[in-house]
Symmetry: C2
Subunit: 232 residues, 2 copies
């Protein structure tokens, strides 16, 4: 597994940061809920843009907290209990959250999801999916398609951006090359994506195909296959 380069203190700092950010961000989120409830609907509607701006900022902080927390667990992820769950719902929820936080006005996100049940560690897989969509959105010209299907014994999520920019591919290469500094700009999301998929006995990859960029996340649907994968 790739998770050896960081000193223990860095994992601990990831954990602390996740915790320190989540607390106050949760307070702000709650205050916005209360405020929206207290104002009448007309007032809220008239100021929808400000509420949205505030909520996006708060949810971006909560996502940051999640990324740090998941990163802090990468070293011991192999032991993380996976549960049998509705993978389609997991992908749908992660895409909705990440679209709200990282969405760009000129880029649409389309879903092409098959019903699928399988094993996954829900919070870490959700974080990996959200970070993958963040990268796909950044690379896209006007459209991202998120597809989910079973391929043999594997769950496969493919995020396709309508652009052949080399940026995502280069980011993966740089972040995952031996000796890469995991604290470089943009490296942590890639590390989270890669680490979470590995911990699931699967893999993440990026490729450019024609005028598109595809991020593929693939992991075994069954617990038995996951354990076999983890022992590779």
């Amino acid at each position: 597994m790739a998770e050896k380069a960081l000193p223990e203190s860095v994992y601990k700092l990831f954990a602390r940061t996740g915790h320190d950010v989540r607390g106050p961000a949760g307070v702000v989120s709650g205050a916005l809920d209360e405020l929206e409830r207290a104002l009448d609907g007309e007032t809220t509607a008239r100021n929808a843009a400000f509420f949205t701006m505030a909520r996006r900022g708060v949810r971006r902080l909560l996502r940051l907290a999640d990324r740090y927390t998941v990163a802090s667990e990468l070293a011991r992820q192999m032991d993380a209990p996976a549960q049998l769950l509705d993978v389609e719902a997991l992908v749908r929820q992660a895409v909705a959250e990440a679209s709200f936080v990282y969405g760009r006005r000129q880029v649409t996100v389309a879903l092409d999801l098959a019903p699928l049940r399988g094993f996954a560690h829900p919070s870490s897989m959700a974080a990996a999916l959200a970070d993958a969509l963040m990268l796909a959105l950044r690379a896209a010209r006007s459209r991202v398609v998120v597809a989910l299907a079973a391929h043999g014994e594997m769950a496969r999520v493919v995020l396709t951006s309508d652009s052949d920019t080399a940026s995502v591919e280069e980011l993966f290469e740089a972040a995952l090359s031996p000796g890469a500094d995991p604290l470089d700009e943009g490296a942590l999301p890639v590390r989270v994506i890669d680490g979470v998929l590995r911990a699931h006995g699967g893999a993440a990859r990026v490729e450019r195909v024609g005028a598109e960029t595809r991020i593929t996340l693939e992991w075994p649907l069954s617990e038995a296959a996951r354990k076999a994968g983890g022992a590779r």
Copy 2:
């Protein structure tokens, strides 16, 4: 100087975290300003508690970002340019900010500030003062007094809490003992306070006197004395 225990990657992570938190927290802060401006005064007044809750959360995040940024600079703090400034205004502003963020309903904060000009690195000294007040507030029963005066060639800030709890003293001892883990709960603020004061050629100390706890921050008022102190 005490700043040797952390690997370079941790300083880098402090810097990145400060940056990553500050951005979205600033967006939320701006959105709250806009929202308050857009609502009429009566609506705002009626919902003051929710606005305050949201702002406290946001300012706590901005303070967290400042703490990380200052912590990231501790290793090279000795080179930080200090400017001649109004120390009284600096203390007043830091106390106002920290009182808002960390204030407790049952604890009053009283000021006893002398007019004073001297050299300081404004953002790092403000962060040290804010963290010191955070600790003083936590320790207090019902009152904190913040005093500023010149003592010989030194600026001296004394934060007095009306409680002889051992907690702050113990926290300082634990956080600054050789081999202490700077990532332990509560250690980072102490490290910031201690590191910033040392970088100013001064020192921070905690003592219990009668039924009170005093946090004292002391540093040379003149640039020449600071440089002499830095070379100790």
